[in-house]
Symmetry: D2
Subunit: 285 residues, 4 copies
């Protein structure tokens, strides 16, 4: 018989150490309903600790709190580009109702107003392809052309602003209301996700980020993909549900619900009001 991997001699100490930390945090959670910032893991906070309310955690109907270090927290606005929420952009060309994706502009703007000037980092992402489409899979471009009835990624729609989903085009850039300001970070990515094909790993590491507060469009596509990637790597992720939207309302609702399954399988869900209250309560400015 072949035994492929045996760990008899060295595995339980590492496991027991982690499980004892988990047990401590679990006992604390029962008392406080709070996922406390794990100092044992990350060290003392670099900024200021604050906590925000999250919903339907651990069970639907319950309320819990996530504590985070302001200087290790990033507010991420995903793909708030004209292509996804503006006129003559990609989503508009495909015929979807723009209000579904554009409705989150105002709440995201409120969050920007709150976090700008604090030590919370702001990261923007943009989906788009090189002008030579070298990083665009053939099937992705083909499908977009079919659904766009002849006008897909890399093409210029009639009356459009530029080539769809192509870097450097006006339609590809971030919508004016949410445009990055000095000191914010921008990640360009070629896919729905970002890890594995961009420098987002490095940026989060260079900034010392442990907690990601997520927003953007579309909920079930790019936002969820990035949330999944980050969650798999152990980042604490919280989606602000009013700061996101999808091309289909039912998909939006399920994308939000899906996060909450299994006690928070992809992290937690909150909204801009609660995040703003938490940040303001911390007096970070």
């Amino acid at each position: 018989m072949s035994k492929i991997r045996t760990y008899e001699r060295f595995y339980s100490a590492g496991r027991d150490k982690l499980l004892s930390k988990v047990q401590e945090a679990y006992e604390r959670f029962k008392e406080t309903r709070t996922f406390e910032f794990p100092v044992w893991l990350y060290g003392q906070p670099v900024g200021k600790l604050f906590k925000m309310e999250v919903e339907d955690c651990p069970q639907f109907g319950d309320t819990a709190y996530v504590e985070m270090d302001s200087a290790r927290t990033a507010f991420v606005a995903i793909d708030m580009q004209t292509d996804f929420c503006g006129k003559s952009g990609y989503v508009d060309v495909m015929g979807y109702d723009l209000s579904l994706t554009a409705s989150c502009i105002a709440p995201i703007k409120s969050v920007f107003d709150t976090v700008r000037g604090t030590d919370i980092k702001v990261i923007h992402t943009r989906e788009g392809h090189e002008p030579d489409l070298s990083d665009a899979p053939f099937n992705k471009v083909l499908r977009s052309k079919i659904i766009g009835e002849g006008v897909g990624i890399g093409d210029i729609p009639e009356g459009g602003l530029g080539r769809l989903l192509v870097r450097g085009e006006t339609n590809w850039d971030i919508t004016e209301e949410l445009y990055p300001v000095e000191g914010e970070y921008v990640v360009d990515k070629a896919g729905k996700g970002a890890f594995g094909s961009s420098t987002i790993h490095m940026i989060l590491k260079n900034l010392g980020v442990t907690h990601l507060v997520l927003s953007g469009i579309t909920t079930d596509v790019c936002v969820h993909t990035i949330m999944r990637e980050a969650n798999d790597l152990g980042y604490w992720c919280i989606l602000l549900k009013d700061c996101t939207g999808a091309t289909d309302y039912g998909n939006y609702e399920s994308a939000v619900k899906s996060i909450k399954m299994q006690g928070g399988v992809f992290g937690n869900v909150s909204d801009s009001k609660r995040f703003i209250e938490a940040v303001e309560g911390a007096n970070l400015k």
Copy 2:
């Protein structure tokens, strides 16, 4: 003014070449409703070409076809482990209705019966952590303990088969009915996704795979995450909707629908019946 990236001198030839291939495929699609196997990209088929019907493509209500090379196609059964569909496994301990995830065992078995003995590859995945939990993020373990009311990843539930979601435990292994047979492949992964933290890149490359036919559990979590990762890299992905299940039926339905948005934002959707018909029709055995 800083111009960060300028491509004026060399970008359009690559773009035009790709777009002309896309245009050709688009014209063919209009005639044939088929995503033909792109020989210009992959070379002549290594096995036999065959095509299967996919639903709601490009628009809801439409039917289309995906053509694939049998020897470059993999049927992937994601996380069909006791922990996700069997008694005393992880999902059972969390209190979900097992029939939601176990109902896909029979259709997957039918697909196995059909593809075994052909040159279509079979790949299984298993989610699970090292016995020392070294690859388990603290927050993942903590959340599982909270939702499991004290019994989470790495713990042994009362009357359980072993530590939950831990490699090597009986509950972690693939359910008996769908157990791998000689010549099939198994990818162990620590997260919901697999790319970036397993050798799945290498396996797909070593096998020359271009098309993935996906099944498994749970639809909105692991199946969708792997589908997203693969789709971002240009793999052609088709989910068999009866060969998958989720802990919540609404989330299952939206996960399926979400794939079909934007002309197939994550690929296509079909079912076991249509896949089996396609494979049988190709006389691959």
Copy 3:
């Protein structure tokens, strides 16, 4: 006893199949000294098959051949930027002899003259950081400032052309003699390597590349890192030893020798003359 991974029931068929393909290729190699293009794996060639001589393979003193498909081959010119081979660039500022890195410009130019107009792909890479240095690790920037005696990555040296190793600066761009032309590809990367933090995965996949012919600077740093990453993923890599250079000649020599160890632990080594002969002999234009 815990058995972590057991494969008794399904592992040998996959292994035996691969090993029989390896055995065939091994028998062919003994006859022909050639690593033949594996049609069983990649399918029929898309372009034209041709073979080039490589040195010291399998043993030092031996000669072998690598057969490749022109349309699946990419010639990669790594980091031929002013920062690495031109006046007032990064390497110049650190005080290294520019002739060590600039001497490969002419042979790379010869290769360009040969492959341009064929279906062999040309890929350029550039190392550099975002203007906000968000993707530059703190220790990398610090070390560069120390060795540059106060002038490091992100700084403008006296009499310099722009900020060192920063995207968009004149010094960061590709040297005039080797500037990309229409239809060539450019990968921007923040590290010495490229896989994992750029879209190079997608580009190689979209182009269907199986074989990489490598050149550029510096041999032991960026060229070797990319070669290692690609080799680990199964790409066939061949370094053209006169088309590369390092800041230290001994390191250059060892970097070349290191590839040849263990029968070609990172691939193979050849030179521009042999590659040009091979390409010209194939009449690809």
Copy 4:
């Protein structure tokens, strides 16, 4: 004219902030010759700060110090497997002099004796393929068979202990003298590198590691590849030069020298004596 990426409106604040931190650290380095632990980035130490001497930094002939947090430091022993340093293993079968790779066993053992019982983490890696060779690139297996004159990866050499470089085989496991003990970590990897195809990302993140002290075999292959990957991601890497070895002494020397170029292009170099002194001086037990 297409301007692909313009950052005029938001890029300098992030850059200036990083450069001011770099400037501070540079001034401190000039005074102290020490790369101090960057508390601004990582937070207060979780364990105890200590510093070790590194050689030829920033210039050849100079001495510098790296300060690290014991609880955020990992000592990594790379591929100390029978296959690379023991009788009838892979390296032995290829005909290399085993003393070149086995000579580092004793110094690594001394380091183990010193760090075991402290809060410095110990991580072992093992290179090896699944028993079905699914993660072994065809060209890698073929080359090994050629150099092994018919006996390569996946084969059992005459008088051998098992299949070469295959997980689960005796020859593949870690050599007895350096076998992991309780509470240590083991990363299995299919390539020379580990990032991108293993869970090493997660393990380092879960352990909060910032500094890697590296050892193992072979210097120019697996050790260097992992060092490059980690360095690109911003980990502080220090190779202990007597705790490593290569199949060719010249390659070993150049691999060590290469790290020191450009002020430490891949990190720093020290030895077991200095690391042991540093750890003992910190009274961590």
